[in-house]
């Protein structure tokens, strides 16, 4: 893989992260991060859809009438999401139940359309495909970080496994209580803000003058 292609893949992890730098996909980052498991499943699904939406749109880009390009993007993305949903329902029913409403949310995830519009329409299929994977994973990275803190402090579990012992809880005679605010979306936004703060203090060139 050439250096340029590698940059498409790894750029979105930090310097060009879709959530904390491009500020795309914030809405779903707030919705699915109460627990780690849906956050990871959502991140993987978005990665698949972004990669293939980028690929398909990059292949279509030369014949695409620019006046209806947004509609075409929506149709392609929606069709991909429905296909993914149908396949999941038929072959891995448990996973599809886990995803439930979020499959539909992928269609409205601004990362998918944002990358198609900003990248795939101006670049070749292979570069676009890598860009889609990179952005999906960069999005997933932030989801996992936020989900980690929300599940740990909100429910005392990680990936559904108990981390904070039951005996610590006040109800069991201990001293500890879960932070209820962690379960609500505003906390995800605050955590997201903290991540942006830390990230920008490390990457001075991202700071606005």
């Amino acid at each position: 893989m050439s250096n340029k292609n590698l940059k498409y893949l790894t750029g979105p992890f930090s310097a060009n992260n879709p959530v904390i730098v491009q500020i795309l996909g914030i809405c779903s980052a707030l919705a699915v991060t109460v627990q780690l498991k849906p956050a990871i499943v959502m991140a993987l699904s978005v990665t698949v859809v972004t990669a293939f939406a980028n690929l398909v749109m990059s292949l279509l880009r030369n014949g695409l009438p620019s006046r209806i390009r947004i509609i075409v993007q929506l149709v392609v993305i929606a069709a991909l999401v429905i296909l993914v949903d149908q396949v999941l329902k038929a072959f891995v029913y448990d996973v599809s139940k886990q995803l439930s409403v979020y499959v539909g949310l992928i269609i409205t995830n601004c990362i998918v359309m944002g990358r198609v519009e900003a990248f795939a329409l101006g670049n070749g299929p292979w570069a676009s495909f890598l860009d889609g994977i990179g952005n999906g994973l960069g999005y997933g990275l932030i989801l996992v970080i936020i989900g980690f803190f929300r599940e740990l402090f909100g429910a005392g579990t990680l990936y559904g496994i108990r981390v904070i012992p039951e005996s610590w809880y006040i109800a069991e005679g201990g001293f500890y209580a879960n932070n209820g605010l962690m379960l609500f979306p505003p906390m995800a936004l605050i955590l997201c803000g903290c991540i942006i703060w830390v990230h920008r203090s490390k990457n001075k060139d991202l700071q606005e003058k």
Partner: protein
Amino acid sequence: MNKNSNLYIVIYSTVMVVVVATLLAVAALALKSRQDANILNEKKEAILASLSLSGQNYDECIEAFVVNEKGEKIEGQDPIQLLFDLPTAFAENTLPVFQATDGRVVVPVSGVGLWGPMWGYVALEKDMNTISGIVLDHAGETPGLGAEVATPKHQAMYKGKTLFEGDEFVSVTLRKGGAKDEKHEVDAISGGTKTSDGVTAMLKSSLGAYLPFLKASVATPCCEACAETECETNNVENNE
């Protein structure tokens, strides 16, 4: 050719829609039978799970039939198929009942949560009053919040609760801030108030529809079913 001419756009979008529609239709048809089998299997598993008989053979353990709003058995309906559209089944008073060979019965419940439909299976002891187990499920409640009703931890709280106070039907209520009445209340979900209220309403209305059947079953227990305790015995063996 001018890519922004009306003719080009009309042809382009027509071709695109036809291609995409064909693709999706083929995928939906090809996968339908597998998806239906998954759903049917899941419903049978859920009924067994509410009876704590997971892993047993559904056909050997469960005798299913349909009752009407007076609690009388009616013929000509497939109980399992009714589960696919419970709201209609309740509206038309075709109420499926799943009786285990040990005399316990499972009745389905159907309602709405915050985002969409919810449903579940309530297993009742032979007294048709004490909850033996419950399985709740939902189409799209929020994970970590409302969706907690579908977790074993939440569902374990219902075991042993009773539906009746004397002769009066009081159902089971999810109370915010923790259950106060030990017999008829369980803890609601923090951050899932609408879902919790939905479960309360669902239990009240759906179990309410079965009242004549439940009362009739207490008066005249089905003896032929009680005689066979094969499944229960198997279950005990598994526990050892």
